[in-house]
């Protein structure tokens, strides 16, 4: 009896303890879930956008814009949004031919020293103020002074006259064939003088990133730095834009693989990539299109830059030997799956000034060895000749590091030992190469539509500027090349311009201050709902007036 009672008591007690233990265990779980529900309750994320997705183009990019005003900052990050926010005097066609935009017509004087623009009537800024010739003149002067390529874009411009509200007269010291390109969307945004012409310098103006007052087909609705930019269509734009999406969302996703997965899943409508593995993978996805044209204006090149003052690569025969030793066929067809074209010139293949008769430096190890012997770099007992250091830009580390490893293996075949030096971040690499603390570096450089803007800066003697990134970092100087670039920049006609650039290309591909390796293929990737994607010469860096969303 006692035993039975005790057993009952014990079992009751144990059961209670057991329940108590279970509840002890469950309590933190339940509390955590409750806390999580409460926490989740407050939360559309800081970047969440409440509303409807109807007629919205969601563009994904990894490029984070520092400012949205292309008058003071170059590059893909700023121009993607900047060209939607600001209109320009000219637009470029698929064939890089000028088309009317804010300027409905233009005339060039016979001597090429004066360009007159006639502005369209009825164009307004986003605050309702009319766009006048004063604003165009102001914008041109700001770009000339503040833009990184200002001197290249508008160097010959001596003054801008505004005889009336719709007429702009640009006076120049010499003929300037690149002027119309320089007035196109990535380079010359028309900004309102009454906003940006205040006491603040335009570079530091607070309305470069927030509360932007633009002249383009979209106005800024919100900008969450580093995450998202929301643009809303301007209803009374001076050009037809009925079919254009009501909203454009620029969604920033820094990891390109995640961006590609989000596009594949349909979370993103459109993205741009130059990564061969992503282009080839997404090309096979149903419901997605990888454009086969676009971004020809960029002229994006990957090259091996030499510091010609560095001991082991100062002799052009050594640089030529390195060119012969590199296996481009492997780089193009194996490493990059045939998604990239080889580069043979400092001017990109898509440019009208590209010369296709240049040496291609196909792999020839015997020729490379002979050139090295002739240059005095004979082999030692182990077959080694010398050691050279190779840097690469960490912003494109995924592509560049694999190219660097290929070069290292290729040069080993001719007795050159390559020591690859990676940089922790962009400033570290920039500091090294801009201060000439390097032998060779892999670099990605854009031609920017015209050799005046993006090519000559790498070779002109007076652009050897220590500490300045993407100036003449090779320290290469050849008066003949200088003379040819200057002659081409003011050539009287296209034929003589092409001929002059061809001569410059021949010298440069012989002396090789840089060894062009690849023409990068930037391409838009978009879902079936995107019609007339912006596959023009500057791609998404041009207004999306003709693009529409369907379905």
């Amino acid at each position: 009896m006692t035993f039975t009672r005790r057993t009952t008591q014990t079992s009751t007690h144990a059961a209670r303890r057991s329940r108590s233990a279970s509840s002890h265990l469950l309590r933190p779980v339940v509390a955590s879930l409750a806390a999580l529900t409460l926490v989740l309750g407050g939360c559309a994320a800081p970047s969440a956008l409440v509303g409807s997705s109807d007629d919205t183009l969601i563009y994904g990019t990894g490029a984070i814009p520092r400012v949205l005003n292309p008058a003071v900052q170059s590059g893909l990050a700023t121009a993607t949004t900047g060209t939607q926010l600001f209109a320009s005097p000219i637009r470029l066609s698929k064939n890089l031919e000028p088309e009317p935009y804010l300027a409905e017509s233009w005339e060039e004087a016979e001597d090429g020293k004066t360009m007159t623009l006639h502005l369209v009537e009825g164009a307004k800024f986003h605050d309702g103020q009319p766009i006048t010739s004063e604003d165009v003149a102001f914008s041109l002067n700001v770009v000339k002074k503040e833009h990184p390529f200002g001197a290249n874009l508008f160097g010959p411009v001596t003054s801008v006259d505004t005889p009336d509200e719709q007429t702009v007269v640009i006076n120049m010291s010499r003929r300037h064939p690149a002027l119309l390109t320089a007035m196109s969307p990535p380079f010359l945004p028309v900004i309102p003088k009454h906003v940006y012409g205040t006491d603040d310098t335009v570079t530091d103006h607070p309305q470069n990133a927030q509360n932007v007052v633009g002249s383009g087909p979209y106005k800024l609705r919100s900008h969450l730095e580093g995450k998202r930019i929301v643009l809303k269509k301007v209803d009374d734009f001076f050009m037809p834009n009925e079919k254009a999406p009501q909203q454009v969302l620029v969604e920033i996703i820094s990891d390109e693989n995640t961006l590609a997965l989000a596009t594949e899943k349909g979370e993103i409508d459109m993205m741009t990539s130059n990564t061969p593995s992503i282009l080839s993978r997404l090309d096979d996805v149903d419901g997605l299109t990888v454009a086969d044209t676009g971004y020809e204006g960029l002229g994006a090149l990957t090259w091996l830059g030499f510091n010609v003052e560095s001991e082991n690569v100062s002799d052009k025969r050594v640089r030529q030997a390195i060119a012969y030793a590199i296996d481009r066929d492997y780089l193009i067809n194996k490493l990059h799956r045939g998604q990239i074209e080889p580069a043979t010139s400092p001017i990109a293949n898509d440019s009208p000034y590209f010369d296709d008769s240049l040496p291609t430096y196909d792999r020839d190890l015997d020729k490379a060895a002979k050139l090295l012997d002739d240059a005095g770099y004979t082999t030692d007992d182990q077959g080694n000749r010398f050691t050279v250091q190779l840097d690469y830009d960490p912003l494109s580390a995924e592509m560049s590091s694999s190219i660097a490893e290929t070069i290292k293996a290729n040069l080993k075949d001719v007795g050159i030992t390559v020591r690859i030096r990676s940089s922790a971040d962009e400033p570290t690499w920039g500091n090294r190469v801009a201060n000439y603390d390097y032998d060779m570096t892999l670099d990605n450089v854009w031609n920017w539509g015209d050799p005046v803007v993006g090519v000559e800066r790498t070779y002109l003697c007076d652009n050897i500027k220590k500490g300045v990134l993407w100036a003449n970092m090779s320290q290469y100087c050849n008066e003949d090349v200088d003379r040819l670039f200057k002659k081409a920049a003011s050539a009287p006609d296209e034929e003589s311009r092409k001929a002059t650039y061809a001569k410059a290309q021949r010298i440069l591909t012989d002396e090789l201050p840089v060894l062009p390796l690849e023409n990068q293929q930037y391409r838009n990737i978009y879902s079936d709902s995107v019609k007339n994607a912006p596959n023009g010469p500057f791609g998404i860096m041009s207004p999306v007036l003709n693009t529409s969303m369907e379905g």
């Binding site: 108590s20 820094s254 500027k465 993407w470």
Partner: protein, 346 residues
């Protein structure tokens, strides 16, 4: 008289103990402040000793610049001042609770961190607690039958969790549960455009949270399951557990009330320590899942040498670590009263 004496002694003893505790807390706070100061100075000097500066990045992303423009940028951000002057200016600002202005994002650093803190706390909190609870449970279950199948399973999970890099498990999770089986979204903390109603918003955030929190939790499941298993095996071998079994107590009571309570102490120590290392895992997960938190902001800032943001995040992280350590101390005292009596873990 003799009857009233003991309470007075007890009271005096309690007062002394309270005083000692107050002194101990004050001393800990003073140590924390000094530690923070040292961290701030160390971080500042370390970052500024690295070659290059944000002006190079700003110029670099433009595709070039002129020496004059570079000089203007450096002047505007005070980068031409000697490092001691820059440090002094920074310390003065810190004491005014001003973390400075981001070179790159052009925004107040406090506001920038404030925007990104909440998503990180949500992700880190969910991932860590899920890992803690699941890992401990698995460890306990494995310890009950150390030679059982489940025990080996826990060992395998722990090895995989330790060995697999978090960015790799993250990408695998994405490919498996977002692309192949389209159960969860790929990126972000919310859908790009969300419903204005609260319930769909909560559901939307929960769906977005599952994969990154799982990726984070896997690390901690591995860690805590091994620790819990080892610790439980030690405790289950104790005399008092044998006594508990002998008394006829139920299995749940012995395991969860008697054994786990003692076995959990090393786990709590680890938990406190891991808060400090949390940011390194969170950085990778936030980048892969495009989670809009402090980790991805830190990476963007490091790549662009945005010094004020890097320093601000490191400061916030240091404060979190110090708080976590204090909380760990308190948790110790609650779980094991002997520690409270003896004055805390040494």
């Amino acid at each position: 008289m003799s009857l009233t004496a003991p309470p007075k002694i007890k009271l005096k003893g309690r007062r002394n103990m309270a005083l000692a505790r107050a002194r101990s807390i004050a001393s800990r706070i003073a140590q924390a402040v000094l530690l923070l100061l040292a961290v701030i100075i160390f971080n500042f000097v370390l970052i500024h000793l690295a070659p290059g500066d944000p002006a190079t990045v700003i110029a670099g992303e433009s595709g070039g610049t002129t020496p004059e423009q570079l000089e203007t940028i450096r002047e505007a951000y005070g980068l031409n001042d000697p490092i001691f002057i820059q440090l002094w200016h920074y310390l003065v600002k810190i004491f005014q609770f001003d973390l400075g202005y981001s070179f790159y994002f052009g925004q107040d650093v406090t506001a920038l961190i404030g925007e990104r803190l909440y998503p990180t706390v949500l992700l880190a909190g969910t991932g860590m607690f899920a890992g803690l609870i699941l890992g401990t449970l698995l460890g306990v279950i494995a310890a009950i039958k150390p030679k059982g199948l489940l025990s080996y399973f826990v060992t395998v999970i722990a090895l995989v969790g330790f060995a697999a890099p978090v960015f790799w498990t993250s990408v695998l999770l994405l490919l498996a549960l977002s692309i192949t089986l389209p159960l969860f979204p790929v990126q972000g903390m919310n859908s790009i455009i969300v419903s204005p109603d609260a319930i769909p918003q909560i559901w939307d955030t929960t769906l977005h949270l599952v994969l990154p929190a799982t990726a984070l939790a896997l690390i901690y499941v591995a860690l805590y399951s091994r620790t819990a298993r080892t610790s439980m095996l030690d405790v289950l071998d104790s005399d008092y557990i044998r006594t508990a079994w002998a008394k006829g107590l139920g299995g749940k009571v012995v395991i969860f009330k008697h054994a786990l309570r003692n076995a959990v102490l090393p786990i709590i120590t680890l938990f406190g320590l891991h808060v400090g290392a949390l940011l390194s895992s969170v950085v990778l997960i936030e980048v892969v899942f495009n989670w809009p938190g402090l980790g991805s902001l830190l990476l963007e800032s490091i790549l662009r040498r945005d010094t004020p943001v890097i320093l601000g995040i490191l400061l916030a992280s240091s404060v979190l670590v110090i708080i976590a350590n204090l909380v760990t101390d308190v948790a110790y005292r609650i779980i094991d009263p002997r520690i409270a009596i003896s004055g805390g873990p040494q």
